[in-house]
Amino acid sequence: MPSHDGVALIEARGLQRSYGRVRILRGVDLSLSPGEALAIIGPNGAGKTTLLRLLSGLLRPDAGEIRVLGEKLTPGAHDTRKAIGLLSHQSLLYDDLTLRENLAFAARLYGLGQPGRTAEDALRSAGMIDRGAELPRRLSRGLLQRAALARALLHSPSVILLDEPFTALDAAAAERLRADLRSRLAGGAAIVVVTHQLGDVWELATRVAVLIRGQWAADEPRSESVDAFLGRYRAMTDG
């Protein structure tokens, strides 16, 4: 994948990873510059979630390396880790802490000043200011997703990794998320988003890629309509 102008925000070379004896990723390259958003689509078990976990630093690659802002991503590279935000399938929230406490704790983990204030701000911009005292397990699926997004983006990461971010969101919440992501892109962030609903992110994406059996089957700038692309995608997965 070519990196365009300047230094890449996140760059991966030859990523390989097995789980147990199953090879999930078989050599994946990736490079994103500020303002770029990559949408990834692929069948179940293609390695999309594993790729995001590698890029976030939660998993170590068996082979290959990841650089964030030019620095190698290692467990000890704190500044690098601070630049990354991950929304995973799970909310990462503690069921016995209120939303406000959860967000304040996350703020402390990222060394942000005034954790209480930061938590309030995050709640407000998620449109959940009146839910601050609720426990995550009492929330509906959609509200939980909004809370998880608030937690993932709390520290204004410049590399944003999203696994199915639109799951369970209603139309208004989805539109608000798109607007938020657009402004983060304009602010110089880069986004990797994995989704089965390509239509949700089509307008946002600058590039689209197809992951099949742990390898890129396509990786190109967004140029056509979502339907035309999905038509080609179906041909790829059938073949």
Binding site: S56, G57, L58, L59, R60, P75, G76, H78, D79, T80, R81, K82, I84, L86, S88, H89, Q90, S91, L92, L93, Y94, D95, D96, L97, E101, F105, A106, R108, L109, Y110, G111, P136, R151
Partner: protein
Amino acid sequence: MARAIRLVLAVAAKDIRAELRSRTALLSALVFAALVLVVFNFARDPTALAAATLAPSVLWVTFALAAMVAMNRAFTVERENSALDGLLLAPVSREALFLGKLLANLAFVGTVELVTLPLFTLFFNVSLWPHLPGILGVTALATIGFVAVGTIFSAMAVRTRFAELMLPVLLLPFMVPPLIGAVQVTSRLLADRPLSEMWGWLRLLALYDIVFVTLCTLAFSAVVDE
């Protein structure tokens, strides 16, 4: 350094706050400790053995079993919603994470021990109060070491099948040295023996704490980082 200490405290405070809200683990551990004390009392032949003879062993076996129950929770809370991923994603040293979890576990186990002590004096008619500073001291000294090992083992156990069974099987051998030491010191304290008779045991306990707190702190990354 200051940031590392703040992180340790934040992680511990988070655990304590969550536990105070649900109270499940703490209450079960307390009830469990009380039950063990009661069972011990009936498992003893009162005509053959005076309560005081058995008291130190009963106290420490109760502490050990209750601690095991309390420690099982340490990483089950991190498992809900994959919260542990949230800790590991953050720019936080694994050593600070471990020490935070250890501190929270020490708070839980310490609370259980503090509540068990008066029950113990009541059920076993042992007068602890004259020896209280000494008892508290040896309790702290013995507890720190095995809770450190228990903390790292519970991080592994939650990721295995049969988690509740795995922790005791792994941890009990590691409880042997602190337990033997603590029982020996406790019985000497209760018998008003001079400090010189406990010195060897106290050194053993302190050495155990130093070795295992250090080792577990350093090994934690190998457990959680995939």
